[in-house]
Amino acid sequence: MPASDSQLLEGSQVRIGKQIVLPLSKAVEISLRGVKVRFWRSLITMSGIILAIAFMVSVWVGGAVLEGLRSPAVRDREVIREIKPETDKLAWTTSDGQERSVELQRQQAVRNSVAWILTSKGYDAGAAAERAAPAPAQGSKDLWLVALSLCVAVVGIVNAMLMSVTERFREIGTMKCLGALDSFIVKLFLLESAFLGGIGTAFGVVLGLLLTAGSSLIGFWAVRGLLLAAVPWSDVLRGLLVTFATGTALSVLGTVYPAIVAARMEPVAAMRQEA
């Protein structure tokens, strides 16, 4: 007779145990598998966060590039902006009354400082430390836009994850029939979204960096040689770390409610035939 039967016939002592809480590593293992299989599908879910992070990075790094160009060491460097051909016309009257003229051509190099280029493009050329008003309107407006775009991304994630819960109701119901605790379902969803958030953020960072590189090169083509040196890399790195934390945290935050909805799902849901 199988073990379960003998246990069952043993007598009238308590026959029900308590389900164990699985170690986190199991949830990680299962959620990673889910992420791997649904990877491209999930990236679409995460596209909101990818774009918002790309925006955040481009604002951040773009600002850092500007700040680098404004630093006194770079700002006052002279650069050749363009070589301009100039034509002078020399006209005179000879003694016999004839009009004569000759055209003289010369090339003039227009030299400008980085500061001049910045000013000509509408940027304030003063370095942060020297600026009169320490909180320029531009910075807070950027911050506001970034915050807004991140909010939109989070709402997008909540929406997409709720859809995903509806799509996966049978899977969730089945897992609960097989003995999954509510907390396990919550963990599964949160971990999945943390992984996806991390991956989505990485995509967003790459996209944002490419965009910034492109726009900086176009905007400051004349001083392209100075750009790399001007970028304050330590600031950028610190910014990227903050970005990673933000992207992942927001992705998890957006999944909290859908995960709770999923966990509350009754196991009977697995039995339903529709959908």
Binding site: M1, P2, A3, S4, D5, L8, L9, S12, V14, R15, I16, G17, K18, Q19, I20, L22, K26, I30, R33, G34, V37, R38, R170, E171, G173, T174, M175, K176, C177, L178, G179, A180, L181, D182, F184, E266, P267, V268, A270, M271, Q273
Partner: protein, 244 residues
């Protein structure tokens, strides 16, 4: 083979409230199911068959009355105990198979073992053994969408047996399968019932199921219409066919 009572219900009633209307899905059901029995629950849709089936499997709680699984009142269990019950005491088989689509056959079978706390080696070994018993050992690395309906249902049967449950609940297990595959599934269930002594409770419309059953419970309008033993069944089967 038949042992003690494994499931017992006492005056089970279940009410559903839909807006202002209260629907009485079950109107007082008393039944004792013995360990090792192969029991079929039959009834037209809307008869309360599914509700009753869910009660017996610990998936739903009665509005009134008691359901005892292995002499434990299901209504008294907390979330952890219910999960334990579903994990180890009961195995579920669904009409639509309900394999986890992102997992292979073996991973599907071992999932309940993971929930029960078995380590990877133990669960792998046992999972392969179970897949072998349903004749799918060589397809252990396939995902559900790479398998036919019959194969998926066999994986689901192996999964239901993962933690050596005392009861296997099958909800229309042949409902989505053709005649031949359905017969195979019934044969497997019947064999497991005899070899392992596992109690099988199946909700079904499928007349093929009747010949495998020890008893058939007919549900109508939330009440037990009649309970027939296999001995009587064989005589009655003609009239049964005519009835539906």
């Amino acid at each position: 083979m038949l042992g003690q009572t494994i499931v017992r219900t006492k005056d089970v009633k279940r009410l559903y409230t839909m807006g202002n209307v209260t629907v009485e899905a079950l109107r007082g059901i008393n039944i004792e199911i013995r360990a090792g029995e192969y029991l079929s629950i039959m009834g037209p849709s809307g008869s309360g068959k599914s509700t009753f089936f869910n009660m017996v499997g610990g998936l739903d709680k009665p509005t009134e009355g008691k359901v005892y699984i292995d002499e434990v009142d299901v209504a008294q269990l907390d979330a952890y105990e219910l999960a334990w019950l579903r994990c180890r005491k009961v195995g579920y088989i669904f009409q639509s198979f309900n394999l986890i689509p992102v997992m292979t056959a073996l991973e599907n079978v071992t999932l309940p073992m993971v929930f029960a706390g078995l380590n990877n080696d133990q669960s792998r070994e046992k999972g392969m053994e179970l897949l072998g018993q349903v004749g799918l050992a060589e397809r252990h690395a396939h995902k559900p969408f790479e398998m036919s309906g019959g194969q998926q249902q066999r994986v689901a049967i192996a999964r239901a047996l993962a933690n050596d449950p005392a009861i296997v609940l099958a909800d229309e297990p042949t409902g989505n399968l053709d005649l031949k595959t359905g017969t195979e599934i019934i044969e497997i269930l019947s064999r497991l019932n005899k070899e392992r002594g596992v109690t099988i409770i199946a909700a079904t419309h499928d007349m093929k199921m009747l010949s495998a059953s020890d008893r058939v419970v007919w549900i109508r309008d939330g009440r037990i219409d009649k309970i027939e033993d296999r001995a009587n069944l064989e005589i009655n089967i003609g009239s049964v066919d005519g009835e539906h």
